[in-house]
């Protein structure tokens, strides 16, 4: 059972992600947090079984994705958890910033449901080694 966290304030996106995940991958337990603060709380409660993957939206109320990313990368307890940025933005500056802050991959939320499914499936099939931060050119996942 893969333990997966999704942090996104958009309920539609959360349900879409959940649907897509259920359609392509059965062996996963999804925990959803609607903002950064809730993510940090959920991480506290999940101890000692930390999630194997965190999908992180950037634009969120209370505590945004950048803050979460920085906090997790600074924390000795969580710093090794792979983080996949899951954002609407395809702005190069933002991609660059998350890369420098230590995110493992970047997904630009796809406009097509089928691509969303393919993307989730692709990420879930990556092994621990493949999940390590790649070179910059391969940082943004594009399965289309």
């Amino acid at each position: 059972m893969k333990n997966i966290f999704l942090t996104d304030d958009d309920i539609d996106d959360c349900s879409m992600f959940s649907d897509a995940l259920n359609e392509v991958y059965t062996g996963a337990k999804l925990t959803i947090a609607n903002n950064g603060l809730k993510l940090m709380e959920a991480l506290e409660q999940a101890v000692p079984s930390s999630p194997e993957l965190i999908f992180l939206d950037l634009n969120m109320p209370l505590k945004n994705g950048f803050e979460c990313l920085e906090e997790i990368r600074k924390s000795p307890r969580y710093q090794d958890i792979p983080i996949i940025i899951f954002s609407t933005s395809s702005n190069n500056d933002i991609v660059e910033k998350t890369y420098l802050h230590g995110a493992n991959y970047y997904i630009c939320k796809p406009a097509s449901y089928s691509i969303l499914k393919k993307t989730i499936l692709y990420v879930l099939t990556l092994d621990v080694k493949q999940l390590q931060q790649p070179v910059r050119e391969n940082f943004v996942i594009n399965v289309a």
């Binding site: 996106d13 702005n91 406009a111």
Partner: protein, 477 residues
């Protein structure tokens, strides 16, 4: 400036004082001379007077001793004796008077001798007359001495007369000259006074002029300073507002990239789910959904291009020397699908090195090439890219440095082309020359133009309907 004026005024006054002092000294000497000449004239007159006096005294004595001899009256004798003393007194007075005159001193010795000789004769005669009658010889002797004395006094008088003439002349000369000199002195003083007045007035005028000029300059400088300060302030203001506008643009960029795209993406995703999942849709329903999705896709492209266009203004990148051929290869790889679908041949001719902002120029090539592909209508589309170095003077643009070198990049195709009258409008945002048959956002060429401008270059377009388009780019070499 004031120091120089003070110095000049000092010089003028010093000269004036020297002139006036020397004139005063001369004047004093002249007056002194006048006084002296007048004294000399008086002196000569006195000498003459005394000479006459002494003769008349001797003559008195003559008549006195004769009276005694004839009348034997003792009264005559008393008078005679007192006159002897008088004569001696007069002689000593004359001696003092003529002490300055050597010739008259000699004459005086003789005068004294003659006077004393005559007195002695008269004394002898008086003594003799007591005992005997005086001989005619004795009288004759006395007369001869008396004649000698008269002649001698006349001689002395003549000499004094000559002296008097000389001295009177000199006096009249001095009398004329001294007032003339005084008048000259007065006029000189007045002249110096006027000159000083004139010069000082002039200096003051000049200094005042300089002063007012200086004041004027000061004021002007102050004004310039003030206006500079003001323009500085307004510059700061416009800088601030520019910074504010930039901030707004950035937030607009963010809104475009995120907030606008999010709902659009959701629309697209939900439609894609419906199309995928709902099997019981009518053909019409499917058709509408497909067209909705296409519209949403176009809108997404529009947002993406607008974003790219607005970001071009704010970002600054370094210019690097780059290989044009390899850059075209990269673009060809990116546009692989379209190139294969439309049977496109792309060739690069001429020089390879260009100086560019790499990411932007890649975008430029992508836009132009995909533009050419989009508007191709022949069986085989031919895109030619040619690069050569030209001088600024060969470029038909006004704001160009004529001696600099430029890379001239010509991109030509054999597509549908365009009416040459639109050659300027083609670069404006949202200007579309073709109907919806050719998909596009109307921003691609605006981005191209912006990129060329970011390179400090120029771009022009030319075309002929159904024969193709030519884009000519000049960027500094």
């Amino acid at each position: 400036m004031g120091k120089l004026i003070r110095y000049r005024i000092q010089i003028i006054f010093t000269i004036a004082i020297i002139v006036l002092l020397s004139l005063s000294v001369f004047s004093f000497l002249r007056i002194n001379n006048l006084v002296k000449a007048s004294a000399l004239v008086n002196h000569t007159t006195n000498v003459k007077l005394e000479l006459e006096n002494i003769f008349s005294t001797v003559a008195d004595m003559e008549s006195g001793h004769r009276g005694y001899i004839l009348a034997k009256d003792i009264g005559f004798l008393t008078h005679f004796n007192s006159l002897i003393y008088n004569t001696q007194l007069k002689l000593s007075e004359i001696k003092v008077l003529i002490i300055d005159n050597k010739e008259q001193q000699d004459n005086f010795t003789k005068l004294k001798m003659l006077v004393n000789k005559r007195i002695d004769q008269m004394k002898e005669a008086v003594l003799q007359s007591r005992s005997a009658e005086l001989t005619p010889e004795a009288w004759a002797k006395g007369k001869a001495t008396m004649d000698d004395l008269r002649n001698h006094i006349d001689k002395m008088m003549a000499q004094e007369k000559i002296l008097l003439k000389e001295r009177t002349d000199s006096l009249s000369y001095e009398t004329v000259l001294t007032p003339v000199f005084t008048i000259v002195l007065i006029f000189c003083s007045l002249g110096v006074l006027f000159l000083s007045y004139f010069v000082i007035t002039r200096e003051l005028k000049i200094s005042n002029l300089l002063k007012s000029d200086l004041e004027l300059r000061k004021k002007e400088l102050l004004n310039v300073n003030n206006s500079l300060l003001q323009s500085n302030v307004s510059l700061k203001d416009s800088n601030a507002s520019l910074a504010k506008m930039n901030k707004e643009l950035e937030s607009f960029t963010y809104i475009s990239s995120h907030d606008l795209q999010e709902p659009l993406r959701k629309i697209q995703t939900f439609i894609s789910r419906i199309i995928d999942m709902e099997e019981h849709l009518s053909e019409n329903g499917k058709n509408y959904l497909n067209r909705t999705q296409e519209s949403a896709f176009r809108m997404q492209n529009l947002i993406r291009d607008l974003l790219a266009y607005s970001r071009l203004k704010t970002e600054v990148f370094p210019i690097e020397a780059w290989d044009l051929r390899s850059l075209v290869e990269e673009v060809k790889n990116d546009l692989d699908e379209e190139i294969n679908a439309k049977n496109v041949i792309i060739e690069v001719l001429g020089e390879s090195e260009i100086k560019i902002i790499v990411s932007q120029f890649r975008q430029l090539l992508t836009n132009l090439i995909s533009n050419s592909i989009k508007f191709s209508d022949k069986e085989t589309s031919h895109i030619r890219i040619e690069n050569k170095t030209v001088k600024g003077s060969e470029i038909p643009e006004e704001e160009i440095s004529r001696d600099s070198l430029y890379s001239k990049i010509i991109l030509s195709d054999n597509g549908v082309g365009f009416d040459p009258q639109f050659r300027d409008r083609i670069f404006e945002v949202f200007q579309r020359l073709h109907d919806k048959k050719f998909e596009g956002t109307g921003i691609g060429l605006a981005i191209v133009k912006k990129i060329v401008e970011n390179h400090n270059g120029f771009i022009s377009a030319d075309g002929k309907v159904s024969e193709g388009a030519v884009f000519t780019i000049y960027i500094p070499r």
